[in-house]
Symmetry: D2
Subunit: 337 residues, 4 copies
Amino acid sequence: MIIIMKRNASDTQVNNVVARVEQRGCHVHLSEGEERVIIGVVGNGRPIDPVQFERMSGVERAVPVLRPFKLASREFHPQDTIVKINGVSVGGKELVVMAGPCAVEDRDQILEAAHAVKGAGAKALRGGAFKPRTSPYSFQGLGTEGLKLLAAAREETGLPVVTEVMAPEMVPLVSTYADILQIGARNMQNYALLHAVGEAQRPVLLKRGMMSTMEELLMAAEYILSHGNDRVILCERGIRTFEPYTRNTIDINAVPLLKILTHLPVIVDPSHGTGKRELVAPVSRAAVAAGADGLIIEVHPHPEEAMSDGAQSLRPEQFRELMDGLQRVAEAVDRTL
Amino acid sequence: MIIIMKRNASDTQVNNVVARVEQRGCHVHLSEGEERVIIGVVGNGRPIDPVQFERMSGVERAVPVLRPFKLASREFHPQDTIVKINGVSVGGKELVVMAGPCAVEDRDQILEAAHAVKGAGAKALRGGAFKPRTSPYSFQGLGTEGLKLLAAAREETGLPVVTEVMAPEMVPLVSTYADILQIGARNMQNYALLHAVGEAQRPVLLKRGMMSTMEELLMAAEYILSHGNDRVILCERGIRTFEPYTRNTIDINAVPLLKILTHLPVIVDPSHGTGKRELVAPVSRAAVAAGADGLIIEVHPHPEEAMSDGAQSLRPEQFRELMDGLQRVAEAVDRTL
Amino acid sequence: MIIIMKRNASDTQVNNVVARVEQRGCHVHLSEGEERVIIGVVGNGRPIDPVQFERMSGVERAVPVLRPFKLASREFHPQDTIVKINGVSVGGKELVVMAGPCAVEDRDQILEAAHAVKGAGAKALRGGAFKPRTSPYSFQGLGTEGLKLLAAAREETGLPVVTEVMAPEMVPLVSTYADILQIGARNMQNYALLHAVGEAQRPVLLKRGMMSTMEELLMAAEYILSHGNDRVILCERGIRTFEPYTRNTIDINAVPLLKILTHLPVIVDPSHGTGKRELVAPVSRAAVAAGADGLIIEVHPHPEEAMSDGAQSLRPEQFRELMDGLQRVAEAVDRTL
Amino acid sequence: MIIIMKRNASDTQVNNVVARVEQRGCHVHLSEGEERVIIGVVGNGRPIDPVQFERMSGVERAVPVLRPFKLASREFHPQDTIVKINGVSVGGKELVVMAGPCAVEDRDQILEAAHAVKGAGAKALRGGAFKPRTSPYSFQGLGTEGLKLLAAAREETGLPVVTEVMAPEMVPLVSTYADILQIGARNMQNYALLHAVGEAQRPVLLKRGMMSTMEELLMAAEYILSHGNDRVILCERGIRTFEPYTRNTIDINAVPLLKILTHLPVIVDPSHGTGKRELVAPVSRAAVAAGADGLIIEVHPHPEEAMSDGAQSLRPEQFRELMDGLQRVAEAVDRTL
């Protein structure tokens, strides 16, 4: 960290800053310019919060030199992390496509969806049992009944199941039925929940908040990792921008940049990331071409009857077509599907 | 709601939409133009989710005519709601200023702060016992010990206490000590938590998410109201914009517009909304001039030693000056302080 | 357009709106609900500005049904527009890659760059002679001298030249030397300039404003088209978001959506859209996989000495590698390079 | 400026950076930590572009310590600049309210508006003769005829006239008729235009771009100042945010912060900044309470017939009421009106 003192900072103010740096077990390099003093902090490997210093009198700014995340960083863990779930590996050469309906609606719907996506090459089944909804008057999901139907679909098809958990006290229940715990975009900074899944025995699919930065996403992953769970999959699902023609804007830059910054697998959700059925296939191809390790895609046997997010769900035959096109792009970037 | 059919929508598609509208207990007005059919939906007073219709085949767009919130709307409840807490009224002619440190640090700090803000005219004491922090390595608050210290400060000064609750299972504990439950900006769409405070016997201070719209804020209030708690205070605390010189951007337009849209009291947090000590006083004056019902301000007896957010905390004497200036602006808009 | 009257709108107010609609040569469909009157406007094919009606008393909202652009729309012109420039076609099956330095610096630099990019397969040479710079103290480009050097590079290599024009009175001068006139992102809504290039005899490369919507981009194209120039190439170059790790965020959704909305060719600028050399290749592959008709890429023979934007410029050998990888992705989506 | 080298930077890379710093006439302070080398640059008073260094090999980041603007900065020019225009002073103790219609429509309209706003206490007349419009099919203003009508209104009322200039070649024409040249938000980074008004003999009202930062606004002012025109008035007119209920979001924080950063006067445009007639008065009061030096407000004698922006224009009697309320707030912050 670099601490830039104000132009007129007194010696006492400089000394106070130096003393606090040394209290934290760090060393100091002083650089006294004609205009102001600059204090270089040589750390002990643990990130330091610059805000602690910015509030001291005489300080103009404190600029971190190291990233504030450690366990999630590529520097700390150079090899790719490969997350294994019941025989499926996320983060290796083979791309993993997770697919299924936005919400579990009934037994027929989820079984039909599960067979369809498996037939087309999906490696995991997605489906919401507890749904976060902006309006208290909207369908909130089937709850525990939905979890049981997901488990039944796994039994029939062998596909591992990914589903959202919305509150810390629900983690044990959802872990009983699900193979991967999904943290939704609205809960990316729900620290009580991150703590709880950090102590769970299940891999976590962590969705980027719709207005969060990559650093905030990696800090949320750091919460989970620091509580002992090292099986974290990151998911770019679109950010909020000023573009009203699409529901969200997929941050395609994030895919290769996250792969540089972190060792964790990165997948993309083109369904929420576009909100439009006709954009799901081209954006899926783009994600794979940019280096994503997988995709999570909404597929519904009868999207026009879907109880949520029907406008962005693919029909099974559209999903099969998408998988065919994807295979060609995967090969062009030396991946398999 | 208005449903706009696609240019080439078939009669069957139009009929399907009409049938679904009527299933929902609403009436239809058909308008068949030369280019396309428009379906006007005459509701039964309950909001309808336009997405249900946008996913039907043949539909181009569905445009809501009514706002999606009801209990929170000024139309439903024309009189101002006045929230009463231990003798303090929020939402009436008298402005209410809540003040205190960002985090409770120790007994001396919170008592010193409580006496100082009371002496300057504050009507409630703020202070965090559980702190949501971006980094797992930052100070997370004193927890239950902090709640006890807040209660001790109330005992000494008579000031009601407002503090944040971060998880549904913590609502009973925090309610034991606090007079007002604060929902932080990062939790504005934590629906499990909104549900829990909706069933609590305490008023709620609901902070606008840092990237949320007014409609999303009012929908979050609707969650709380619809679970039976009608004592909700809204708080504008700044939104994320592209401006790096300030921590957030206070949406001053939101103050008079929320007062038009809803009957709930609206207060402003100029400390988080600016992130800079020197902007707190002028922005406080602006908030009152725009019609805010109160303010929540960070005051710390020794901000340079504060364990969080010291850069935006006022010293007690700065707070007294601010209150003096505020009084004159309050009178200029026919309010008292 | 649909005009939604206020709940308590009087008959006179409704009649005034109807009269104004009919003055504009349109027809009206009235729908009188229990709560409010809805007026459907059946147009005469020309877009109508809803704001004209929103300001009338008694009107709550006016919702356009048609898009506000016409000449640029796919509905008006279903076939793909192919822009031809000196033997190069943009918008057909073959992808077009334009490449070269951010700014023209001297004769050696631009000639070396031109030969290098031609050798690697680029079809046009980019280079700035007039540079829009945030600071008046930064290098502003070589001006007319730069235009002459670009023309010299075209002479030697046969590559058509694309360069920015920044003011209406410069259009004739720049047209003398350049094959394609570039409108920069900061000038996307400089209407005097759009008017001027609309009357020029040169194709236009129109960059999306860094905070503009797709509709605003298409309205800017509409300005150019409506002044008689139908050779417009759109360029997605990244939008401003809250992500500080990258200079801009490429809106990858925009690529397939623009191809649906308009007949004009769409290319992508991964250099400005990421600001980071190491992201240019993966994002280029993503753009092609999403359906872009081409790319515009910064290549500098010695990026560490570049006078502007060196951090995002590729070296010639990096560009050749990029072109090799791109070829494979192009084939995977049935395009050639 | 601080230059942070990469962890593994070689001595040669460090030496190259040092050499370039010294070429620029600056001194260097080297700080060699265990992890990396930090280079402090002691400047010669002129801002340096950090990008020049970030592109050098071995450099991780370059962090400016000084602001990139100089002539506009409060440090360079500690006293408030007071801009004088035909007997009116902007930036002193007296607030200046400029008012009038969005667009000049005809002789009767502009004269009626001018008399009305003068009667209510306005000190200058606003009105657009050349209108920047998103759509080529919208009303573009009366042009030169509009300028003549503005001059006629000045003759009758004595009010100085402020109107927009949209292209460099129009500056002489507009200067013939107008007292203050307005640069619109969409042109804030139209550098050819900034250059042209920098050489004009008229004060400039510079509007902040709708998605620009304060630093970008101050850099645009620096362009004008550096070309010799020191009579620049800054205008906060609302920025684009995710809030759809208002047209823009007034950045109220910017008012006191700009007053700290710069010596130039700062006024606020609550009409464009809210887009809603009912918010203009409370936001005007907020602007004055926050320390603005004036306001620019849309007033139209018959807003329901206005040819542009009628939804946000006040009627003359609403404007008189606003001025009455404003007087009380002005006194509360020791200003006069």
